[in-house]
């Protein structure tokens, strides 16, 4: 009987092609918008995560909230060599970093830079577009060498090759001439979106920074990057670092960030967005459901005679009920399927067109949810019309003109 009713449902839907299609529109739009919004959120999160893992998977950042100038009671002290001693024995390669503001000048072009004095091992995780990162020998000697970000290089030199060129750098009161040894790869993916065009930065050896700006405090760092070997678990090492630093300088006096921490932040932001937008999409599903309710009621009224005849020929109440319920469910599930296919197509097109999205994510849960919800919409909104159809008295129904 189920198969027969299924056949009957398809016949009825095909017989009323235009009406079915218009009715389906509500469900299609509802499923399409909910699925697209949730999946786009997943795609964005996955793209960000992939990007973060590519650039910073094996890194732990330890930062303090200190600001340039004399220490204030509200802020915490920079990380000292003593703090870093506490990390000895942990499987991390420490990259000390001291930030400063600087002004760079090349042939009349002057720009403000965010300058970082750092150690040569910082170069281990930085991809270079031209030249190379400064070497350990250069760093130890305090040579006046500088590595530019891609944005800085193009701001100062345009399309020309900056490697081997010199530039004037002013830090606080001191001014000196530096040789460019390398240019970093431009930021790509999500980071290009967030930082593109404004990432005017450059790295010089820490020793050089000290030589040039002796007024800067030495042996303290407002950011330390810990590079974790590939065979180590970042989260586990992060916990060890936390324990060591808590014991050394007290909990809360520093911040520790890993990729996981960053991605979970993105995840929760994205979840809020998905819930809000998905909720709006869900409203159109309800509207679509009411459309189904309306059209099924029309269908029952229209086919009153048919129902009477079917009952006269021996159809049971449950059979008629099933027939109309299946028709509603077939209608909504069809709508759900179409909406889902449109959503998948949209996702592929979006990911292909938008450069910072890199991965298409179609969550099985989302797919099942979309189909499940459209199925349930058919049941919920088809039930009343189906009951109405089933409880028609055969003679009254046959009399209906």
């Amino acid at each position: 009987m189920f198969v027969n009713n299924l056949r009957t449902a398809f016949e009825a839907i095909i017989a009323n092609r235009l009406r079915s299609a218009l009715t389906l529109l509500g469900i299609i739009i509802g499923v399409f918008s909910v699925t697209t919004i949730i999946s786009l959120g997943d795609v964005a999160t996955a793209s960000i995560t992939a990007e973060l893992e590519r650039v910073a998977a094996q890194q732990i950042f330890v930062t303090t909230d200190s600001e340039p100038g004399p220490p204030r009671p509200t802020t915490h002290a920079d990380l000292s060599e003593a703090d870093l001693e506490a990390l000895a024995g942990l499987p991390v390669d420490i990259v000390r970093q001291q930030g400063s503001l600087a002004v760079a000048t090349v042939a009349g072009t002057t720009i403000d830079l965010s300058l970082t004095g750092t150690t040569a091992n910082a170069g281990d995780t930085i991809a270079m577009a031209q030249g190379s990162y400064f070497s350990e020998a250069e760093a130890d000697a305090g040579d006046r060498v500088i590595v530019l970000s891609a944005e800085t290089a193009s701001a100062l030199y345009g399309d020309g090759d900056p490697v081997g060129q010199t530039l004037d750098l002013a830090i606080a009161e001191s001014k000196a001439s530096y040789t460019v040894v390398g240019v970093e790869e431009p930021a790509s993916g999500v980071f290009a979106l967030f930082f593109g065009g404004s990432n005017l930065s450059a790295d010089i050896p820490l020793e050089t920074l000290y030589l040039l700006a002796p007024e800067l405090p030495q042996g303290i760092y407002n950011q330390v990057k810990l590079q974790v070997p590939l065979d180590q678990d970042v989260a586990a090492v992060g916990a060890q670092v936390s324990a060591a630093l808590d014991a050394q300088r007290g909990a809360g006096s520093y911040e520790l960030q890993t990729v996981e921490g960053l991605t979970s932040l993105f995840d929760s932001l994205m979840l809020i967005l998905q819930l809000v937008l998905g909720g709006i999409g869900a409203i159109s599903l309800v509207v679509g459901g009411i459309g189904i309710l309306n059209i099924m009621l029309v269908s029952v009224t229209e086919r009153t005679r048919e129902i009477g005849l079917r009952k006269a020929l021996g159809a049971r109440r449950s059979t008629i009920m099933q027939q109309f319920l299946i028709e509603a469910v077939v209608l909504t599930t069809l709508g759900g399927l179409i909406g889902l296919l449109l959503a998948v197509a949209t996702l592929y097109v979006t990911v292909a067109l938008v450069s910072f999205l890199s991965v298409v994510v179609i969550n099985a849960v989302v797919v099942l949810l979309a189909l499940g919800v459209s199925f349930a919409t058919g049941i919920v909104f088809g039930l009343w019309p189906a009951r109405r159809a089933a409880s028609l008295s055969p003679i009254e129904a046959l009399r209906y003109a």
């Binding site: 027969n4 020929l313 021996g314 049971r316 109440r317």
Partner: protein
């Protein structure tokens, strides 16, 4: 005050007989036919079909009675316009739970019996009125019921086509089926063995007509397996 379509009616119809029900409109003839067919149940009184009290049956059992033991033929044919001829005829078999292949085979046989061996894939609206009524009769016969109930089966047909359909009923009767037909045409009723005249919800007269068509009851005394009594009393 309640209005009763039928009251104080008592009627027995024997198996294999051919009964015509006549009467002016509003006399209760359609209601009587609907009660006989299990489409309606009397508010009071009793209706026994082959000894079984139908008024007491539950809805699903009533549906089964309609499905297996009774075939309906309507004035307006009542074919489903979306289905082809074969599927229309097969509809009662679907509700009887017969597999599709067998359904179509039996429907084809039933259509052959009413003289429609072709045009099986046509839609009802592609057929003439007479052909449509043949399809409806085939649908009434497809479950091989004992009883065929017809409500003005020639009412929508011209007289010569009506003749053909009535001849078909004669053949069914000759084949041993019990036929009850509602009509207002005397010429139609004259083909029956007995004519029940209703007036104002009561049986006025029951007239036995001498008919030329022999009824093949072969063994012993006729057993009244199909009988009905109606007692509608004004309350």
């Amino acid at each position: 005050m309640k209005v009763h379509a039928l009251r104080g009616t008592e009627l027995t119809i024997k198996r294999g007989s051919y009964t015509a029900i006549m009467g002016p409109s509003g006399s209760g003839k359609s209601t009587l036919l609907q009660i006989l067919g299990g489409l309606d149940t009397p508010t009071s009184g009793s209706y026994r079909l082959a000894g079984e009290e139908v008024a007491q049956l539950r809805e699903n059992d009533l549906a089964e009675v309609r499905n297996r033991r009774i075939g309906f033929v309507f004035q307006a044919f009542n074919l489903l316009p979306r289905m082809n001829v074969l599927d229309n005829v097969a509809l009662p078999l679907m509700y009887a739970g017969v597999p599709r292949r067998e359904r179509l085979g039996r429907s084809q046989v039933a259509l052959g019996r009413v003289g429609l061996g072709e045009r099986l894939r046509h839609r009802p609206n592609q057929l003439s009125g007479g052909q449509q009524q043949r399809v409806a009769i085939a649908r009434a016969l497809v479950t091989d019921p004992d009883i065929v109930l017809a409500d003005e089966p020639t009412g929508n047909l011209d007289s010569s086509t009506g003749e053909d359909i009535l001849a078909l009923f004669d053949t069914l009767h000759a084949g041993g089926r019990t036929i009850v037909m509602v009509t207002h045409e005397t010429a139609v009723a004259d083909r029956a063995e007995q004519i029940v005249r209703l007036h104002d919800g009561r049986v006025d007269t029951i007239e036995t007509v001498g008919v030329g068509i022999p009824i093949p009851i072969t063994v012993g005394t006729p057993i009244p397996i199909f009988e009905e009594e109606l007692n509608h009393v004004r309350q």
